[in-house]
């Protein structure tokens, strides 16, 4: 009698505490006979659906069931779960810095013995296999990518006026001048984004630093080995200044940039009659912000080119992001799933189902993307000489989500000199 009461009490209590903490204990795959592999990701649902549909039958053939969970705040959660010794088998991280941190602490399984890395290197976009490397070992496999530093334009008006995509940054300046000489406004530019105002300006900077300095200098910059107050960053700033601050270059002028919302800043390209502006630099995701009517006939209305390199045919790395898969709980089943995730044709379903999926494999057939717009993005990515992860995401948050945004905004709004802005950012870099 007493024991029954106790058992009841204890189970009621534990049920309650489970409810209160609001978490289930997750799927325990510790049993040797159990062949379930959990994957955590924060990717968009249509991409997950596409990958899940492609992976399930291949895993089944190996006797493995894959359980996908869409997780919000995956970066914080994975750190907590690893500390609590309860990680998922595999997780897709949008920030490779976290994979590197955890790998340095020995919490992530290296993929060197598991995947055929040399072959994979030939198959993948340059640099995408290196985003999560620690001490020469590879800890992450990028499965889905996105590209930044793309210049969108209103296709019909752009082509009717006889404009062509520039091959160098100098040609970009020439194109800007030509559009202006024709009596048009060349650029749409908006960096307003609520509490994150300023990030589109940092994207501009990152891309220009990458184009002028190359990948090695860029990586030194985001590690603060190259300062903000340096010739390279000033060169990038000068080009941005030329594009954004020259009278008549930007719709609404310099004053309008800081209060123009990035999501709608490009919409003036599609004004009925004459475009309000002709060029808009953003990431591949921005098409989702275009007016509905434009989205419905995207291929007819929108063209794009990647920000060109500093010198024609020279180093031309692209900036972007991606979701990178790593093994947090090692098992033969997890390793098998990882191998399946590395296959180029795994992305076929996701690419075809209308999601924003972009395969990091450069041998992925371009025709696999139903939209010409996506094909154009893929061409920019696959033709690059290297891949740079979003720099402000990789910097310490005090800079990357703090002073870099704020000081750029203050500079662009004309409330701060470039000199002060760059020095302030350098000063805010945490001493560790």
């Amino acid at each position: 009698m007493f024991t029954r009461k106790l058992v009841l009490g204890v189970s009621a209590f534990s049920a309650l505490s489970l409810l209160i903490t609001g978490c289930s204990s997750g799927s325990d795959t510790g049993d040797t006979g159990d062949k379930t592999v959990t994957i955590w990701t924060s990717m968009d649902q249509p991409i997950i659906d596409g990958l899940e549909a492609a992976l399930a039958p291949r895993a089944k053939a190996e006797g493995i069931t894959v359980k996908w969970s869409k997780v919000d705040n995956i970066s914080q959660l994975i750190v907590q779960k690893v500390q609590a010794n309860d990680p998922p088998d595999i997780a897709f991280m949008p920030q490779p810095g976290i994979i590197k941190d955890l790998a340095a602490k020995g919490k992530v399984t290296a993929l060197d013995g598991i995947l055929d890395l040399p072959t994979l290197r030939n198959s993948m976009t340059a640099g995408t296999l290196d985003v999560a490397q620690v001490d020469g070992k590879t800890y992450g496999l990028m499965v889905s990518m996105n590209v930044k530093g793309l210049v969108f334009y209103p296709k019909k008006a752009f082509e009717a006026a006889g404009y062509t995509a520039p091959k160098t940054l100098d040609e970009l300046d020439t194109l800007t001048a030509k559009i202006k000489a024709d009596g048009n406004t060349p650029w749409c530019l908006g960096i307003e984004s609520g509490t994150a105002t300023g990030w589109p300006a940092t994207d501009w900077f990152e891309n220009l630093v990458l184009k002028y300095g190359g990948l090695a200098q860029y990586n030194a910059w985001i590690a603060h080995q190259v300062k903000f107050d340096s010739p390279l960053v000033r060169q990038a700033a000068a080009e941005f200044e030329k594009i954004a601050f020259t009278d008549g270059n930007v719709l609404g002028g310099r004053k309008a940039i800081a209060s123009n919302a990035f999501g709608t800043a490009g919409n003036a390209m599609f004004n009925s009659g004459k475009p309000g502006c002709y060029l808009y630099q953003q990431g591949s995701f921005i098409t989702g912000f275009f007016p509905k009517a434009i989205q419905q006939s995207l291929d007819a209305e929108v063209g794009l080119f990647g920000l060109p390199p500093a010198t024609a045919g020279g180093e031309n790395a692209v900036e972007g992001g991606g979701d990178t898969a790593s093994i947090y709980k090692n098992s033969p089943a997890a390793q098998k799933v990882m191998k399946l995730l590395a296959a180029t044709d795994l992305g076929t379903t996701a690419a075809g189902n209308g999601s924003s999926f972009l395969s990091p494999h450069k041998d992925f057939p371009i025709s696999g993307y139903p939209l010409q717009t996506t094909q154009a993005v893929a061409k920019v990515a696959y033709g690059s000489t290297g891949f740079a992860f979003d720099g402000s995401d990789a910097m310490p948050t005090a800079v990357g989500s703090g002073t870099f945004w704020k000081e750029m905004t203050a500079w662009i709004a004309g409330q701060q000199s470039l000199d002060t802005a760059l020095k302030n950012i350098d000063a805010s870099w945490p001493v560790s």
Partner: protein, 326 residues
């Protein structure tokens, strides 16, 4: 959604049950003591949980924060007064302090004035019109500050000239044939901070109005009648008869709004996140802690705020006591 609702209800019920159980157990313990002691100890037993809660959730964090304000950015190693001196040495932080002072100087006083005018004038309306006017002015109080600030962004929103304006003010400005004005970027004379204050006034005036209106209605009609008989004009009655009698309420409203303004965060976080020189202390604290992970700076800012607020609270409590005993 349903399961969340269910667990919320369950947690609330479990919490109440647990609190009841604690008091029942304490009561039983006290009753177990011999007669005289039971009565001596019981009050302490009943007060103890509340005191413990304040100790754990208020006093302990305060002490830790004060200690942390003398530590480095990771909350380790003592650095003396470094956090304070470095913060006060940065021009940006001095501007932040200046902005906070501006809020303190403008908002509570304006709030009282607006509340008082509305309360005094509404008092003279027919009861139906009074209710309607008060309801409208009180309504913003029912909206969360974050929601209200998000909506108010549309007041000041700015698009480049030649594109349709989504902001109300710029809609008017462009309709009159002018170029849109980037309102929140107007730093001359801290105009943008003043625009943010308008939003808070819009939200807080109702609060001042309700309390002041109740106080005005509490003024005995005998005193105003007597003044009228003696030939005093309405304005004179207002200043010489009504105001002295509602002084206590005026001070309470003023101090409450003042403390609220010193801690102001949400309005600015949502509208500008401190850009364009609109930063204030409450927001800077948040950004130091949750963006920069600088525990030292964050704690130092809170300590400065604490030092500024405590005397005001002491004044309010004294005032309150004086009223009670009067």
């Amino acid at each position: 959604m349903l399961s969340q609702l269910f667990s919320t209800v369950l947690i609330v019920l479990a919490g109440i049950a647990a609190a009841l159980a604690v008091f029942l157990v304490l009561n039983k313990l006290a009753e177990a003591l011999p007669g005289r002691w039971e009565h001596r100890v019981k009050p302490y037993f009943f007060v103890a949980p509340a005191v413990a809660a304040i100790g754990v959730y208020l006093i302990y964090p305060t002490v830790v924060t004060i200690i942390d304000s003398f530590r480095d950015s990771n909350g380790e190693g003592f650095v003396g007064l470094d956090n304070f001196s470095k913060l006060l040495a940065t021009p940006a932080f001095r501007q932040t302090l200046l902005n906070s002072l501006l809020w303190i100087a403008v908002v509570p006083a304006t709030c009282i004035v607006v509340g008082l005018i509305v309360a005094a004038l509404a008092d003279r309306l027919s009861s139906g019109a009074e209710k309607a006017a008060k309801t409208i002015i009180f309504m913003p109080m029912a909206i969360s500050a974050v929601g209200a600030a998000t909506v108010w962004r549309f007041m000041y929103a700015t698009q480049p000239p030649g594109t349709p304006q989504t902001g109300l003010l710029n809609g008017v400005v462009t309709a009159l044939g002018h170029d849109p004005i980037p309102w929140l970027q107007q730093t001359t004379w801290h105009a943008n901070s003043l625009l943010l204050m308008v939003m808070l006034l819009w939200g807080q005036a109702g609060f001042a109005m309700v309390l002041l209106s109740a106080a005005i209605k509490g003024v005995p009609t005998e005193s105003t009648e007597a003044a009228r008989m003696d030939g005093a004009g309405e304005l004179r009655i207002f200043w010489r008869v009504i105001i002295p009698q509602i002084r206590g309420t005026l001070i309470t409203v003023f101090v409450t709004v003042l403390i609220g303004v010193m801690k102001i965060f949400d309005v600015i976080y949502v509208m500008t996140d401190g850009a364009f020189n609109t930063n204030v202390v409450g927001l800077e604290f948040f950004n130091q802690l949750f963006t920069n992970y600088n525990f030292g700076y964050a704690s130092a800012i809170v300590v400065m705020l604490l030092v500024a607020i405590v005397p005001i609270m002491i004044y309010q409590i004294r005032q309150f006591r004086a009223e009670e005993s009067a």
